[in-house]
């Protein structure tokens, strides 16, 4: 049973939506934020949560009171609005052996996410309202957190005919994407960007010129040549980023570029924003954490689309995150069954199980001084909410109580076998990361 009241005490609260950055308490009542009290501006916590370990070890920080109230001691910890993942694959319906809405959302809350957007490449594809409805019902019944479905742009994600986006939107789809498949026809993409203006929803573009990437399984370059793997050049992504920016300019539609992986894409998006074009963009932790070198030894857990690139791309993406060119950090959580990854590199499916490492890998950017903690929260909660026009990503009084409590200094080792997600496919196995969520609250329900 959910506690009636939750009091989170002495946490370092960061809520960019209200410009809050200070130590204080949050009171939650009946699943909603009741109030936030910030201590005097002059107050300094005994330990800055970012400098030294504030963790109290393994014991629970929750005290249950007989009255049905819980108190959470958050001293030495950060408190953020629950994170929002704009880009995940929950696999249900159709691929329940890879992930289900239940396991995917449990992995999400483990990773600090209170909201997950589910990409439509299920089986059947979420290209009609009955699939949308199924996902929403299933999420309500079995999901640990909020699930927002993303509908397909085209029927069957085939890139030919527009799907019934208006009906899906009224059923609860928050955005549209043929993710995994680019919309190759410029005309169809134009229509999609134009048509969705009626509902004020973003079109999320998986930017890849399939003619140019032609079966590439990793980044094109010397490493691909020496591994004997077919390369997909950066240009295959950039041509589509460029095209879609041109279409966004033409249509004034709402374009969101998914999983930016190259220096050139960052540059083009930056220029487009300068010119006032309505474009937003996301990247994923693997695109700023590891290079194509991770593929060495034919590591199928490092096979992802777009492929892992090079150090100069990582540098550009970090800069793009810092200067605001890239609005969002999403996971592109793509769980696969172990047997599917235990194959010839060419035949293994692309994707990384990302929900349970995303926040920790992103916190690295804060530890490195690339992002402030406020910027991090913007990219993982505030901006996704804005782009999706969701009433989320804020700790404002009256909003649903989605909260994540984070120990920014806790070191831990990534062990895929301990993932809650069914997908154990991570290239970060064995990495020691600093900082992880301690506790996530979704609509007043506590996940520890």
């Amino acid at each position: 049973m959910n506690p009636v009241r939750i009091l989170i005490k002495n946490g370092h609260i960061i809520d960019p939506s209200q410009k809050i950055d200070g130590v204080g308490d949050i009171l939650i009542e009946e699943g909603k934020i009741k109030e936030i009290k910030i201590q005097d501006a002059g107050y300094h916590p005994p330990q800055s949560p970012l400098s030294k370990g504030g963790s109290k070890g393994g014991s629970s920080r929750i005290v249950h009171h007989a009255s049905g109230s819980d108190t959470v001691d958050a001293s030495g910890l950060f408190v953020f609005p629950g994170l929002i993942d704009m880009h995940a694959h929950l696999r249900e319906p159709g691929y329940e052996y890879k992930e289900t809405i239940k396991t995917g959302t449990l992995a999400a809350v483990k990773g600090g996410f209170a909201t997950v957007c589910a990409m439509p490449n299920t089986n059947p594809v979420n290209d009609n309202s009955s699939v949308t409805d199924f996902i929403i019902r299933k999420a309500v019944q079995e999901g640990a957190c909020t699930v927002y479905p993303i509908g397909a742009i085209t029927k069957g994600q085939k890139g030919d005919e527009l799907a019934e986006m208006g009906i899906m939107h009224s059923e609860g789809c928050v955005a549209f994407s043929d993710d995994g498949n680019p919309v190759m026809s410029s005309l169809v993409m134009r229509r999609a960007l134009e048509y969705t203006k009626a509902f004020n929803v973003p079109v999320i573009s998986h930017c890849e010129d399939r003619n140019l990437s032609e079966g590439g399984v990793m980044n094109e370059g010397l490493l691909a040549l020496t591994l004997g793997l077919k390369g997909a050049p950066s240009g295959a992504e950039e041509i589509m980023v460029d095209r879609d920016i041109a279409l966004a300019e033409l249509t004034k539609g709402r374009l969101h570029i998914a999983h930016v992986s190259t220096e050139g894409s960052v540059r083009m998006i930056r220029d487009a924003k300068k010119r006032g074009i309505n474009v937003t963009a996301e990247t994923c932790p693997h695109y700023f954490s590891i290079t194509e070198d991770a593929v060495k030894g034919y590591n199928t857990n490092a096979k992802v689309n777009p492929p892992l690139r090079t150090q100069k791309d990582i540098d550009a993406i970090k800069q793009g995150l810092k200067d605001g060119t890239i609005d969002v950090i999403a996971t592109d959580h793509a769980p696969h069954h172990k047997d599917e990854k235990l194959r010839e590199y060419d035949y293994a499916p692309s994707g990384i199980s990302g929900l349970e490492t995303a926040l920790s890998l992103s916190l690295k950017l804060v530890h490195e001084g690339i992002l402030t903690m406020t910027q991090l929260v913007e990219k993982m909660a505030v901006n996704p909410a804005k782009i999706l026009r969701a009433n989320k990503g804020s700790l404002r009084a009256g909003s649903e109580a989605d909260v994540v409590i984070v120990d920014a200094n806790k070191e831990f080792k990534v062990e895929a076998e301990k993932f809650i997600s069914k997908g154990k496919n991570t290239p970060f196995e064995g990495w020691v990361l600093k900082g992880r969520p301690v506790l996530t609250i979704c609509k007043g329900r506590i996940y520890e």
Binding site: L222, T226, G228, L229, G297, Y298, E344, Y345
Partner: protein
């Protein structure tokens, strides 16, 4: 000296000393092959399985004969006769073969890295018989053996490799081997098939056949795979032959004692003119004979790793 790994996955993974060891051992086996009775009992009682997931005649028969000359029991499995068509995974297939008691598995596969994947999951020695567009190590070893036999060395030689480098596992293995031994390697072919990035491996890229062939000691001609035609890498075999086909006229550019090699099978009149292939500078059939000795050496030395 012994090889350091139970598997031969690629030339990339071998040290210069290991390569020398294989080539020296191959010389011994070449002498055996000249005898009246060509079979030795070296590996009697052991089993080799040739697992070919991609069609091959030359490499498979060469391995098979090399295995038989060493008194191995030999089993040949090809993709069409194995369970692969029933949807069995590669790992399951090789684990089953392992369970039959294979000591050696020679793998030919269209996917780069497949032998590496297999080697991690089974105890048998895995020999890469050609994987995708990655490597074909025994071909490079037999090429090196042939060059050494003909010229007495590898170091300092000017060696031209002509053709579809991008898709050639033979070329890749040769590049790794020859650069390890200090040869000057030149890659010649159209820019679509000879990417400039390869120069980072310490080779020189030429798109003009005549300048590339200037004073070379060895010319390795690669097979132009007909399926590349129509994919936009070059407009036609006719145009390819005109620009990069090895003719007797072009051969004059090369050094006086230059030898001509080809891993086979040849497209006569496309990448190599018939009079060159059959001419006095051609060592193409000797490559085939040497392949046997080199593969015997590899099997023999890998058996020694486990002892």
């Amino acid at each position: 000296m012994k090889l350091s790994s139970k598997d031969l996955l690629g030339i990339k993974e071998l040290s210069k000393d290991e390569i020398t060891l294989i080539l020296d051992t191959a010389s011994g086996f070449k002498d055996v092959l000249k005898r009246d009775i060509k079979k030795v009992p070296a590996l009697r009682g052991k089993t080799a399985v040739n697992l070919f997931f991609e069609p091959s005649t030359r490499t498979r028969t060469s391995f098979e004969l090399a295995e038989k000359r060493l008194s191995l029991d030999v089993l040949n499995l090809t993709a069409t006769t194995s369970s692969v068509v029933k949807g069995e995974s590669l790992i399951d297939t090789v684990k089953n073969v392992q369970a039959l008691g294979a000591d050696f598995m020679v793998i030919r596969h269209s996917s780069s890295g497949a032998p590496h994947l297999i080697a991690r999951h089974i105890d048998a020695s895995v020999i890469n018989g050609g994987d995708g567009i990655n490597e074909h190590p025994t071909q490079a070893l037999l090429d090196a053996f042939t060059i050494q036999e003909k010229t007495g060395r590898l170091e300092g030689l000017k060696i031209a490799i002509v053709g579809d480098i991008l898709h050639s596992r033979v070329a890749k293995s040769n590049i790794y081997l020859l650069t390890k031994f200090g040869a000057e390697v030149r890659l010649i072919g159209p820019p679509t098939l000879v990417p400039k990035e390869l120069e980072q491996l310490g080779v020189k890229v030429f798109h003009d056949m005549n300048s590339g062939l200037e004073n070379v000691d060895v010319i390795m001609v690669l097979r132009i795979q007909m399926e590349r035609q129509g994919k936009g890498f070059f407009p036609s075999t006719l145009e390819y032959a005109k620009n990069w086909g090895l003719t007797s006229e072009r051969l004059l550019r090369a050094g006086q004692d230059a030898i001509v090699m080809h891993p086979g099978p040849m497209n006569r009149g496309v990448e190599v003119a018939s009079d060159v292939a059959d001419g006095p500078k051609s060592v193409i059939l000797e490559q085939v004979t040497n392949g046997l000795a080199v593969r015997m050496a590899v099997l023999y030395l890998l058996a020694g790793v486990k002892e």
